[in-house]
Symmetry: C2
Subunit: 250 residues, 2 copies
């Protein structure tokens, strides 16, 4: 597994860490190159970690046949169906293996770790944070897939990785999870109004409704005229980093 790490210039005893999960088709490079996050990580003395979005070259027949399933589309779940289950365990990777690897190799403040992401990665960030609030003390997302059980990207991935019994799917659906596990912190979501995936795949109103039902603090901002691209992310990355800085008490 590949991942990118940004280390800030400050000399500190330990560093807060933000994990950024990218969306479909991305690698560990997109966020670091395109999101304009480094400037703010430098300013606040944060380590940034950007993992790849799936295993690659696992040797599974057909793994490269779809842009929204298999390579580049791990969907941050632990697959239960063979042959994917032998390799595609992105949930455990993000929640356990990667943080352990970072902690073993960098001087991090283990009590100041946040997570955010974009699209499929926004889904991953919300799921990982809501299920692991003691590990990820802050969370935000850009144009996340908030209800994967109710969109074709999600149902295709969940069917392929988890099988047709959708009881298992609920472990990876932020809108389902937040109803049962209210998150201790404030959640920030930005969503562009000109995002072509908003109606069919992203459906932010479903998560907003779920949060309202359980009084989950949420700021959902609709950004007028913005699309689904990294230009959108780079336009609001400063706000997100400041959100994590505040929530983590950096």
């Amino acid at each position: 597994m590949s991942f990118a790490v940004y280390q800030p210039p400050q000399v500190q005893k330990s560093y807060p860490v933000l994990y950024f999960l990218s969306g479909l088709t991305c690698t560990e490079e997109n966020f670091i190159v395109k999101a304009n996050a480094l400037k703010y990580a430098a300013e606040y003395g944060l380590i940034l970690v950007a993992p790849d979005t799936s295993p690659r070259n696992a040797g599974i027949p057909g793994e490269n046949d779809n842009w929204d399933f298999g390579t580049g589309a791990g969907f941050y779940v632990d697959a239960t169906l063979a042959p994917w289950s032998n390799y595609y365990n992105m949930y455990s990777y993000i929640v356990e293996e990667l943080p352990n690897l970072i902690a073993a190799n960098f001087s991090i403040d283990i009590n100041k770790q946040g997570i955010f992401g974009h699209s499929m990665g926004g889904h991953g960030a919300l799921v990982c944070a809501i299920r692991n609030p003691n590990k990820f003390k802050s969370v935000s997302a850009f144009a996340p897939i908030v209800a994967p059980m109710q969109c074709t990207w999600g149902t295709k991935a969940f069917t392929g990785y988890l099988g047709e019994d959708n009881q298992n799917w609920r472990l990876y659906d932020a809108s389902e999870l937040v109803r049962k596990h209210k998150y201790h912190g404030h959640i920030l979501i930005d969503q562009g109004t000109d995002d072509k995936f908003i109606q069919e795949q992203l459906k932010p109103e479903i998560f907003e409704q779920a949060c309202q039902e359980v009084n989950q603090p949420l700021t959902l901002r609709y950004q007028d005229g913005y699309d689904h691209s990294y230009y959108f992310i780079s336009s609001f990355i400063e706000d997100h980093i400041k959100h994590h800085v505040k929530e983590l008490g950096v």
Copy 2:
């Protein structure tokens, strides 16, 4: 010829324009995606124009054989040797054709146009500004090739495009030009100290010496630990945009 344009969100009667010239192997995309300039162009209401670095698919035999000559390496000169002279006229393109195209299609303030660039594009920006101070009212550069007549990138390109008579080369060497045509404004150059091309190709001290000889206002900043990449550019782009804003009186 391809170029990228960023239009700021402000509604203005007319917009200042900054042209950014990229380096070897780049296209019109690198600067827009990687430099983190859009945020500051938005803040100050500037149009950004990022042209490609050469003609492409001109059909010249061998045009794609070298990364530092031909495709992606126009060097911002008007070639005088056939077959390049039929296509490779990047100097005229940057100085005449492109600004005319921009003026015809956008509401620009023709008296507030600046130019900057990186590496080969820093060379281009300096040459275009020094030779056309009434057109380009401000100039800056990241790690520019300031003395192409004294480095192998420059001599290879000039020999190929202009022939072996190096009297013609002086029209495209910033360190030669500034001695004869002092620029009306202040020139800003940033140069990373860990840039692997600094000694053999970039040689900032030659331009610094030339500027001192004619009392040309120059700020040459050596940035400790920075390399030749767009990470370097994105780290100091804010300063450069502010430099142009100040020099243009935006």
